[in-house]
């Protein structure tokens, strides 16, 4: 607890952060409270253990991959500061429908493409730009584990690759991924409604 009135002064570059992510000032303050609540030892940054301590996340079959997405900036990244934390969460802001299309300005973090890229990296753990058969198998295994046999897992994997892999390189590139999710309402499924 303590005087939150001075919270804004504790966060560096609030305006820049607001501009980049699209979060309002109130959201940033709430996220900062959450950041501090997760940061048990008051280090000022988060490490994987802080995320692993969230019980609901630990019970999520792909929980560790989601945690990995926060530490994806650099190869050996071990800490997440508040700015990075907010930028990753910005992917889940609902898309702004009335944004004018300017080809010069970069895509906002919560655009459909960037949301898809976030989902893609959950599959593509080695970051080579393709989802290999093995990577797909691993995700399926994480989501199903004891519930199906190894053969069933393999057959599901093969079938999925067959459907999506248009250039027949036995891997799914980002474009193929995007194409196979064409009809999916990404804006809805990958958005979290932030109150106020």
């Amino acid at each position: 607890m303590g005087s939150r009135g001075s919270t804004l002064s504790k966060i560096p570059n609030v305006d820049k952060l607001m501009q980049e992510t699209g979060f309002s000032q109130a959201h940033i303050i709430r996220l900062h409270d959450r950041f501090r609540a997760l940061d048990n030892d008051e280090k000022g940054y988060l490490c994987p253990q802080d995320f692993e301590a969230i019980k609901e996340l630990a019970m999520n079959p792909i929980g560790d991959r989601i945690i990995g997405a926060f530490f994806a900036q650099g190869p050996q990244q071990e800490t997440v500061d508040f700015n990075s934390f907010v930028k990753v969460l910005a992917h889940f802001r609902p898309t702004d429908k009335n944004r004018p299309k300017e080809s010069t300005s970069p895509d906002p973090i919560n655009s459909r493409t960037n949301k898809l890229k976030f989902a893609f990296q959950l599959y593509d753990q080695d970051k080579d730009g393709k989802i290999s058969r093995d990577e797909l198998l691993q995700v399926l295994r994480a989501m199903l584990e004891m519930q199906v046999t190894e053969e069933q897992l393999e057959s599901i994997t093969d079938r999925t690759i067959q459907e999506s892999d248009t250039d027949r390189d036995n891997a799914i590139s980002f474009e193929e991924f995007r194409k196979s999710l064409d009809k999916v309402n990404i804006e809805h499924k990958m958005s979290i409604r932030f109150l106020r």
Binding site: M1, G2, S3, R4, G5, S6, T7, Q25, A26, I29, R30, R34, A37, L38, N40, F51, E52, I54, K55, E56, L57, A58, M59, N60, P61, I62, G63, I66, L89, F92, F118, A119, L122, Y123, V139, L140, M143, L144, E145, M146, Q147, I156, R159, T160, E163, S164, I172, F177, S180, L181, D182, K183, I186, K189, M190, I192, R193, F194, L195, R196
Partner: protein, 444 residues
């Protein structure tokens, strides 16, 4: 300093003169078990002041055209109550059972839990809507006007300069009397007189301690008060819970035998009244624990046992899983719900953040501790009900009465990792969806 040296007898007399009548006003009613109602008037006045303070802050913020930071008790995000099955049934690309988009559901749920999860927020103190003049619970300090600052400053003076020393004195008196009188009673031979005296002494001393915290307690449904040969279970928010219950009835307490001052108090208490103190080594042996508890309840002359089945302090917005140990014993359970009023001060003990002494100091420098206690009707384990189901039934009853959220999560999660079985549940659900798709491909 010179001043102090010369006039110190004056100061002592002055303090003595002002403090003594107060002590008399407080200790005598405690002994007799009556109340003047002063504390309730105090409570009503405080509430009016808090409302005024909050209004002033809002007005001040509006004048400056700024937004007041209002802690939203509904949480930061709105979680869609859509289940796994509903979400994944929506039309997607591809016709097979598994779809690449299935991962999106888990992904979103995962990130939702990073932003706001049910468990972590139970272990941090509850956020308030109005300000209670304590800086520890204010988020808008930069909105304070000059008048409010004066009021707050006055509040600090009163709390730390007057209330705190008074309360500390009372607490020391209470504990001291408890130790001395129970020792005396302990020397008496076992008889009805000893029991009677021990009850009176305990009640009196706990009442003094309760006044030492300026605790304003409302007891409801006192005819359901626990009787001998039963176990009393209650939800746990702070160590003060014991005081609150013990000042209205006599219980046998259960706990670990400590060393030092605490251990000394424990040993003295047990001379007058049969409490159950376990050595650390005995705590691990569940059969031993169960046996001692069973023996105690079987003896109808012994007092009801007081147990907090959550096993740890929760922040009083919810009730967490009850450990089944006390529900395996064959006896009547008397559930009790304790709900603190957060407007006056935060009673939750965050043991990872504050030590016991710091916590007690916080409590004693707050305005008051206001709470309600509901004695629920006794419950017994039914035919075909196992200990866990019984424990959950009792827990729901307590949660409902106290207006708390009934959670399935284990309080022990504060310190330990989630069991693999929870992850398996999620996997099972997902595989069921895949199978249903396989069997009914047109449906998707």
């Amino acid at each position: 300093a010179n001043c102090l040296a010369r006039y110190w007898p004056c100061y002592v007399m002055l303090t003595g003169c002002s403090v003594t009548p107060l002590l008399v006003f407080i200790i005598v009613p405690a002994i007799l078990g009556v109340s003047f109602g002063i504390r309730r008037i105090y409570m009503k006045t405080l509430l009016k002041i808090f409302e005024w303070a909050t209004l002033r802050m809002e007005r001040g913020a509006k004048e400056r055209n700024q937004q007041l930071y209002k802690p939203c008790s509904n949480g930061i995000i709105a979680k869609e109550p859509v289940s796994l099955e509903q979400e994944i049934q929506e039309p997607r690309g591809g016709g097979g059972e598994f779809d690449m988009s299935d991962i999106l559901y888990f992904c979103r749920r995962g990130v939702e839990s990073i932003v706001d999860d049910e468990v972590t927020k139970r272990f941090t103190a509850e956020e308030l809507e109005s300000w209670n003049l304590l800086t520890r619970s204010n988020y808008n300090l930069h909105h304070i006007s000059a008048r409010l600052t004066v009021l707050w400053g006055l509040g600090v003076l009163i709390r730390y300069g007057f209330l705190l020393p008074l309360r500390v004195t009372l607490a020391v008196t209470g504990v001291g009397l408890l130790v001395v009188l129970t020792s005396i009673v302990g020397w008496l031979p076992n008889s009805r007189m000893k029991k009677y005296l021990s009850e009176k002494v305990n009640l009196m001393c706990y009442r003094i301690c309760v006044r030492a915290l300026t605790a304003i307690i409302t007891y409801h449904d006192s005819d359901n008060k626990p009787k001998n040969g039963g176990i009393c279970v209650a939800n746990h928010t702070s160590p003060i819970d014991v005081l609150i219950l013990a000042s209205d009835g006599c219980y046998s307490m259960v706990g670990q035998a400590h060393g030092g001052l605490m251990g000394f108090i424990q040993k003295t208490l047990v001379k007058a009244c049969p409490h159950i103190w376990f050595e650390r080594s005995e705590v691990k042996d569940r059969h031993l624990v169960a046996k001692r508890l069973s023996d105690h309840v079987a003896d109808k002359t012994k007092l009801p046992i007081l147990i907090f089945p959550e096993g740890t302090c929760i922040n009083n917005t919810s009730v967490m899983m009850f450990k089944k140990g006390s529900f395996e014993i064959d006896c009547t359970i008397y559930p009790v719900a304790i709900k603190y009023d957060p407007r006056f001060g935060n009673a939750f003990w965050n043991s990872s953040k504050f030590r016991m002494v710091t916590y007690l100091l916080h409590m004693m420098s707050s305005w008051a501790v206001v709470c309600s206690v509901w004695y629920l009707p006794p419950m017994k384990r039914e035919e075909g009900e196992d200990a866990v189901q019984f424990a959950n039934r009792v827990k729901s009853a307590i949660a409902r009465k106290g207006g708390l959220v009934d959670l399935l999560w284990d309080g022990g999660l504060k310190r330990s990792k989630v069991k693999e079985v929870f992850k398996e549940e999620q996997q099972k659900l997902y595989s069921k969806v895949l199978v249903s798709r396989q069997e009914d491909p047109e449906h998707s």
